[in-house]
Amino acid sequence: MSFFSDENTRLAEEIIKRYPKARSAMIPLLHLAQEQEGWVTEAAMAEIAELVGTSSAEVLGTCSFYEMFKREPVGKYLINICTTMSCALMGAADLMQHAEKALGVKSGGTTEDGMFTLEGAECQAACTEAPCLQVNYRHRYRVTADEFDAMLAELSTPDPGVPEHGVLSQIRQHIPEKNTVGALPPEEVNAPPVWLNTEEDQS
């Protein structure tokens, strides 16, 4: 039984080809797995290990290092409220408390309907806009309690404009064949770097 869907298996193979060493594709593949299931399952990690030729333990090590890879199921929308200094001074704690009340879960929990996961997060680099939060890593600035409620209502509509948790546009980047650094180990590449191939690019 393979974890990846047929389409994603093909995509995974393409992603692996982009790198001189298959192991380098580990993080993009973890993203792909998270996109498929909304979180990274053990089966996904085991399969990625096989695909990139390493041990499952190493994939687990990488996956657990990054907080944006979730190893537990999370809601459709992941709400990260910044709790670091600027936001804390501007009422992040109150906002968190309001969010907990509004969602009925504690920080770290997921609502029963599987829609929202609430988390406290470290600085999101929007200190001038405190208190801020992110929904599936998309910023909302200077969030008040009312605005938070409005946001929940908006997210509960069928098409709120925020993709589900796990969807990342970056990994869908299709690099044209002629631009790939791919397959050859770097020391064996004799041709000039691909970005110098301007003539072909213009065609």
């Binding site: 990690m45 333990a57 190493e58 090590g61």
Partner: protein, 811 residues
């Protein structure tokens, strides 16, 4: 400035000028200069990572002193280092205070307590008091990460030694750092245990008690351990070990770092099989078969057991006796038996190998290589057993050479092996056809052919499958010798002291000191008085003769032909037919249980002497504990028997035996007792001379398999039904029940589901076994491990056939 020696720089460490190799890490240079810099993560056999920061020292490269981790800073000309400055001391105190923030300090219950680098360095360099009063981190403790290793994450200081070892040295990255920051911890993947063959090494290198060994758990504390240095005889690698005991019981082996062999590492079988020596199942008194009831063995005394044995030997006459085995023996024991057999019993029917090795003359005549040669050669050609299973530390050394050095390992094998992850090329050949494949490569315009012909080559040659005769290995050796005259050889013989036994003449046709039977040294002639002039039978020949009734008395020197001889039927017939079987053994094995006279012998750790590894390296064995019951050394039994046979071996002690060996064995001349007792012998004394010549027989092509049969391939596993494994309670469960592996297409063709029981038919036997599909095999082959608990592949094998085919059927 200093005199300019290329690749050498001069650094000033604590005011003293130290010469160091360019590129060498500062901590290594300091070590050689005798300046100890405290450290946790740095290990001289692994790459530096700078994890623990304990080795911070004041380094001045002209810009003023700065704290730098000495395991990450390469020496540079003119560098000035102060390892005792105030700043260094403050840094060390600070690091230790931090390391102890979460360390549970449960030293009284910790197996490492008393020999713990963290304890020792806290005492030596620590601040004495901690400012942290907060609650420490808590994890479940301990969790078993494999059957042999427990992990206590609370104690872990995240030095990366175990994970680095697993990845870099063992090549089994089954443990890894997980999580991040404060919750970083070493873990395995869920349900994927750290089942590396080398997991025990992580326990030894762990600088705290985070990793502890299950077989040693709470057995003793460091201060009640007593230690000697010895050599492991589990396989023929001869790894240097420290043997530790408490209250006359072996409790632990540690690897000792020697450059020429094991680099401090041990395989788990060698590390944990001390339990076999302590086993309750050990034979402690002689046993003889009850004259009134054939099925009973009676406890006896040495006098009558030896008298019976001598009588059986006398009755059989010199042509009617066969002596099988001797690889378990020390060199001295082997010499005593060689001398007994040839000068007193006057037979040449003796063989230390059980039809699963190579002819002794071939082993002696091939140009020898050392393990170090192999690790520096351009190409290592492995045509033999799966080294990971049979010579695990050789596998580790070759892996190191292939991954860190310039050596390329090329393997020719009929089945996939554990070496495949690091070999440059794994060439899959038909069983018994390795020579053909190698010949084709050498005559092609392959890059490999050029490299083999022009570069340095070390060939590791041995028996890759018990189901094929030794002809294929001999053909490979012949081909390499003819085509690649510059190649040198390591013979991949597996058993403990098999090389030493062959050197001592425990093989038909060769005398002690690697001389042919028709060419005895004059000293040997003088001392022995008599040597047979005709070459005797090897194990296969002896067993055949016994089965035909020509050999009437069989002596088994720690040998178990029923389990280890490739052809179980022949072995069983021989043991059945022989009038008297005398067994010298530690345990009641399949064969010794059927013997008529059983003489209990000393086991590893209970005997001193010397052993010889596969390179011909002689190193010392040291006795650590007193043996149980009335067991005796094998050489003592030989001298007793000689006396009862009306002769005298004139052997009185192991030391005196060695003095005689040194006199009579030409290859061992100059290897004096004094040298063996000296510091030099820690690395082992390499003996490579030989005057034996081998006449290569003409080689026949193995028959082509018919379309219905599957060619049987049978190699050994590390965890098998051998006595040292099965008599060690911790290791016994690791040996898996045998399954027959077949290519899925073949299974499909026969309409067999993977995982179901099948009937296996060979010319020798028909048995039921579980068959499993394995895509990594070639079609038309079947893989069955040789000696797993409950079932030996030797039931199917005909030892006289070049190759063995089996058929499988649904039940």
């Amino acid at each position: 400035m200093s005199d300019s020696v290329p690749n050498e720089v001069s650094v000033n460490i604590n005011g003293a000028e130290v010469r160091a190799k360019a590129g060498e890490m500062l901590i290594a240079a300091a070590d050689r200069a005798g300046v100890h810099i405290p450290r946790f993560c740095y290990h001289e056999r692994m790459s530096s990572v700078g994890m623990c920061r304990m080795c911070l020292v004041d380094v001045d490269t002209g810009r003023g002193p700065m704290l730098q981790p000495s395991c990450m800073v390469p020496v540079a000309e003119g560098m000035s280092v102060d390892t005792q400055s105030e700043d260094t001391k403050r840094a060390q105190e600070g690091i230790l205070e931090f390391l102890l923030v979460n360390h549970p300090l449960d030293c009284p219950v910790c197996d490492k307590g008393g020999e713990c680098p963290l304890q020792d360095q806290t005492m030596a360099y620590g601040p004495g008091e901690s400012r942290f009063v907060e609650e420490k981190r808590h994890y479940e403790k301990p969790i078993p990460i494999s059957d042999l290793v427990h992990l206590d994450r609370e104690r872990c200081i995240l030095c990366d030694r175990c994970t680095r070892f697993a990845d870099e040295i063992a090549g089994d990255p089954l443990i890894h750092f997980t999580e991040r920051g404060n919750s970083t911890q070493v873990l395995t993947f869920p349900d994927e245990p750290f089942s590396s063959y080398f997991s025990g090494n992580t326990v030894q290198i762990c600088p705290v008690g985070a990793l502890t060994a299950a077989p040693y758990r709470f057995k003793a504390r460091p201060w009640d351990l007593d230690q000697v240095e010895s050599t492991c005889t589990t396989c023929s690698m001869g790894c240097r070990t420290a043997v530790q005991s408490s209250r006359n019981e072996l409790v632990r082996y540690l690897g000792v770092d020697i450059e020429s062999v094991n680099h401090g590492w041990l395989c788990d079988k060698g590390r944990f099989n001390f339990e076999a020596t302590n086993s309750e199942e050990r034979l402690t008194v002689p046993l003889i078969r009850d004259p009134n009831d054939e099925r009973q063995l009676l406890g006896s005394d040495w006098g009558s057991a030896l008298a019976n044995a001598a009588e059986a030997i006398l009755d059989a006459g010199s042509d009617g006796i066969g002596i099988i085995g001797g690889s378990r023996l020390t060199n001295e024991d082997a010499y005593a038996w060689s001398k007994l057999a040839r000068s007193i019993i006057r037979t040449d029917n003796l063989d230390a190998q059980l039809g699963d090795g190579l002819p002794a003359e071939l082993v002696h005549s091939l140009p020898p290589a050392t393990i170090a040669d192999a690790c520096e050669a351009d190409t290592v050609l492995v045509v033999g057993p799966d080294l990971k299973e049979e010579l695990a530390i050789l596998h580790l050394r070759l892996r190191g050479a292939a991954t860190k050095g310039h050596t390329k390992v090329v393997e020719i094998n009929a089945a996939p092996s554990g070496c495949e992850p690091y070999v440059e090329r794994a060439i899959r050949c038909g069983s018994g056809e390795a020579a053909k494949y190698l010949g084709e490569i050498l005559n092609s315009d392959d890059d490999l052919a050029t490299r083999l012909r022009e570069g340095s080559v070390v060939a590791v040659v041995g028996r890759s499958s018990m189901a094929e005769s030794d002809h294929s290995s001999i053909a490979v050796a012949a081909l390499i010798r003819d085509e690649l005259p510059h190649a040198t050889f390591l013979t991949a013989l597996r058993r403990g002291n098999v090389r030493g036994a062959l050197d001592m003449g425990l093989a038909p046709g060769v005398l002690p000191g690697r001389t042919a039977i028709d060419n005895p040294s004059s000293a040997l002639d003088d001392i022995w008085g008599y040597t047979p002039s005709m070459k005797g039978l090897d194990t296969t020949g002896m067993l055949q003769a016994a089965a035909e009734g020509k050999i009437r008395t069989l002596v088994l020197l720690g040998a178990d032909p029923l389990s280890d001889f490739p052809d179980r039927n022949l072995a069983a017939e021989a043991i059945q037919r022989a009038e008297t079987v005398i067994s010298l053994d530690n345990f009641l094995t399949a064969s010794s249980a059927q013997a008529d006279i059983i003489l209990p012998t000393t086991a590893y750790g209970e005997q001193g002497g010397t052993t010889t590894n596969l390179e011909g390296r002689i190193s010392r064995l040291t006795q650590k504990i007193t043996p149980p019951g009335s067991v005796r050394d094998d050489w003592m039994i030989a001298t007793e028997l000689a006396w009862r046979l009306g002769g005298d071996l004139n052997l009185t002690s192991k030391e005196q035996i060695w003095r005689e060996i040194e006199q009579v064995a030409p290859s061992h001349a100059g290897v004096t007792v004094e040298r063996i007792m000296s510091e030099e012998a820690r690395e082992g004394i390499l003996v490579q001379e030989s005057s034996v010549e081998y006449i290569f027989p003409s080689v026949q092509e193995p028959p082509i398999a018919d379309g219905y049969g599957l060619r049987l391939i049978s190699g050994r596993k590390l965890w098998d039904a051998s006595t040292t494994t099965s008599m060690s309670p911790s290791l016994r469960p690791l040996a898996e029940a045998p399954v027959l592996k077949v290519h899925p297409t073949d299974l499909q063709r026969l309409g067999i589901l993977s995982g179901s029981d099948v009937r296996v038919i060979s010319t020798r036997s028909t048995e039921n076994l579980k068959a499993v599909a394995d895509e990594s095999l070639e079609r038309g082959t079947a893989l069955l491990p040789f000696n797993q608990p409950g079932f030996g592949a030797n039931r199917f094998i005909d030892a006289t056939a070049a190759v063995n085919d089996i058929r499988i059927e649904t039940l």
